[in-house]
């Protein structure tokens, strides 16, 4: 393609400009720009319906874009879909494991889809089953596996052809905390091994824990971009004071809230105050005559960034 990258800048494996997807009257993705660099852990963070999954599908070459440009490994997925998919591993949000096959057969069959020869598939399959702690379940059917095991098997399967990019759509949704942490560890190991990872999540802590860089999506658009740390610094304050009012927050005087910290968000039963020092802000709140049922001070998180950017919490 004759495109050159300066030595200082890592190669972009995925590059989108004005990427747009329209379904009938609904715009799912409205002209977004982003780049995913070689070896990075990149996240799409946002609530359900923000356009994350649609974006992932366009990257994976299973959803033709409406307009804009998209390049994966410098190639257009609408024209070179098969070739691109050969170097991408995809883990869907909904389980797509083959229930008619055993655990190990799921890997064997998948390797054939990627055109690998049977001997290399067998070696790689056993390697992956060990890596994802599924070795003793190799001959079992898929259905009785736990949610965490199924998800690990999905990831193992997506890695059968040693892809350059691993794409995960909401990988920990529905998993218990322990299974979640196991999965995070596995993903971090993969990243250290050089795999570029792209993930969508609506969990702030997940994005914060895993991503080198992320974009925050809301209503089909990208509303912010950066490392988790950067985003928190730019769009949130150092600490957060949460005041809880079970009887509602409508009656609280705006002037009072403005005087507590740097910024505030008024939710139905909570007031979230961004500030330098949470303890001091709490003291000021009491001075102003507020009487919250309970309160807590914590470090700012991506949740606060999202709230700040959109005026909504992620669960709304």
């Amino acid at each position: 393609m004759g495109m050159t990258n300066s030595a200082a800048e890592p190669t972009a494996l995925i590059r989108a400009r004005g990427l747009t997807k329209v379904f009938g009257a609904r715009t799912a993705v409205a002209g977004i720009d982003f780049e995913v660099r070689d070896g990075e852990f990149f996240g799409f963070l946002g609530p359900n319906g923000a356009g994350k999954t649609t974006t992932m599908r366009m990257i994976a070459g299973v959803s033709p874009r409406t307009s804009g440009t998209l390049e994966i490994f410098g190639k257009d997925p609408d024209l070179h879909g098969s070739e691109i998919r050969g170097q991408i591993g995809v883990v869907h949000q909904q389980e797509t494991l083959d229930m008619e096959l055993s655990v190990r057969e799921n890997l064997l069959v998948f390797g054939r889809f990627f055109g690998m020869d049977r001997a290399s598939i067998a070696t790689r399959a056993d390697e992956l089953l060990e890596l994802f702690q599924l070795g003793d379940r190799a001959k079992d059917q898929v259905e009785p596996l736990s949610g965490g095991m199924k998800r690990r098997l999905s990831i193992a399967r997506s890695l059968i052809a040693s892809p350059r990019i691993l794409m995960l759509d909401e990988p920990t949704t529905g998993l218990d905390p322990q299974a979640r942490h196991l999965l995070w560890d596995a993903l971090q190991r993969l990243k250290r091994g050089g795999t570029t990872i792209v993930l969508t999540t609506h969990y702030m802590d997940e994005a914060e824990q895993l991503c080198d860089r992320l974009v925050v999506m809301d209503q089909a658009k990208i509303v912010a971009e950066g490392s988790p740390r950067q985003l928190i610094v730019e769009h949130a304050s150092r600490e957060v004071l949460e005041l809880r009012f079970p009887n509602g927050t409508e009656s609280i005087d705006t002037k009072v809230l403005e005087g507590i910290g740097d910024r505030y968000e008024r939710l139905a039963e909570r007031v979230i105050v961004g500030c330098e020092n949470g303890e001091a802000a709490h003291a000021r709140a009491l001075e102003h005559g507020l009487d919250p049922e309970s309160w807590l001070v914590r470090r700012s998180s991506l949740e606060d960034v999202f709230l700040r950017l959109t005026g909504r919490t992620l669960d709304e």
Partner: protein, 257 residues
């Protein structure tokens, strides 16, 4: 040969081989239906009526019916796989969503599935041919070509079934399938010569793909090579092509949104 010509389509075929290695008994069940019809109608009814005029001679009724049952065995093998099994994979199993995230495309997917549904048809037809040989119902060595001839039947019904399945919304819609398949089986010159139908009705029956398939197989079994067999092949190939194209287009609409 297919494996090297179209490796991606063949990998889809291989997936089904993996599945049925454990479920081969299900495949075997499909072989019994035509056998029961041969015993019940071919020999039962045949015992009453004796012979039937075919190709200027009187032939035993069982020998007349058997090639038609072989053709319908191939039809059943192909159509049950391309409807029920494909509907499950398409709607519930999410198998195709996973497959399409690999280098395999919708065209590869359709070819792979059609190869598999055809294999089922060929297995049924071959098994039935062996039964016919054992019962002395085969008049010509050309009958040995029937496992190849049924490939045309398998592709046409497989592709048509696949195309129809992409329009199915729920399992209830499969009731319509039987409304089509039962008369197709009964009236496609299966149990009596097509000449029995009066005027226009006969031409409608002549257009039935199973009538064409039966004509092709029956001609081979009686060693009666004729030009109409080329029409059979062309007609079944045309249905295969149209069904395949439609199925691929629909898979795109359903899965590559």
């Amino acid at each position: 040969m297919i494996a090297s010509l179209a490796p991606r389509a063949f990998s889809v075929f291989e997936r089904n081989v993996f599945v049925y290695r454990r479920q081969w008994l299900i495949i075997v069940t499909g072989f019994f239906e035509p056998l029961f019809f041969l015993l019940g109608i071919g020999y039962g009814v045949g015992g009453v009526i004796g012979t039937i005029p075919y190709g200027g001679a009187d032939v035993p009724y069982a020998a007349f019916v058997a090639p038609a049952l072989l053709a319908s065995a191939a039809m059943n093998g192909a159509i049950f796989d391309s409807t029920f099994n494909i509907f499950y994979k398409l709607k519930y199993g999410k198998v195709y969503d996973a497959i399409l995230s690999t280098p395999v495309g919708v065209g590869d997917l359709a070819v792979g599935e059609l190869l598999w549904s055809n294999l089922r048809g060929v297995i049924y037809a071959t098994a039935f041919l062996i039964v016919m040989l054992a019962l002395g119902l085969v008049a010509s060595p050309l009958a040995l070509l029937t496992p190849l001839a049924v490939i045309f039947i398998g592709f046409s019904f497989g592709a048509a079934g696949f195309a129809i399945t992409t329009h199915m919304r729920s399992w209830k819609d499969f009731d319509f399938l039987f409304i089509i398949l039962t008369p197709l089986f009964l009236f496609s010159a299966t149990f009596y010569p097509v000449e029995i139908y009066p005027g226009a009705l006969r031409w409608i029956v002549e257009l039935s793909p199973l009538t064409r398939g039966t004509h092709l197989v029956r001609s081979l079994c009686f060693g009666d090579l004729n030009w109409l067999m080329l029409v059979d092949i062309a007609y079944l190939s045309a249905i295969s092509f149209i069904g395949y194209r439609h199925a691929v287009r629909r898979l795109g609409v359903l899965l590559l949104k």
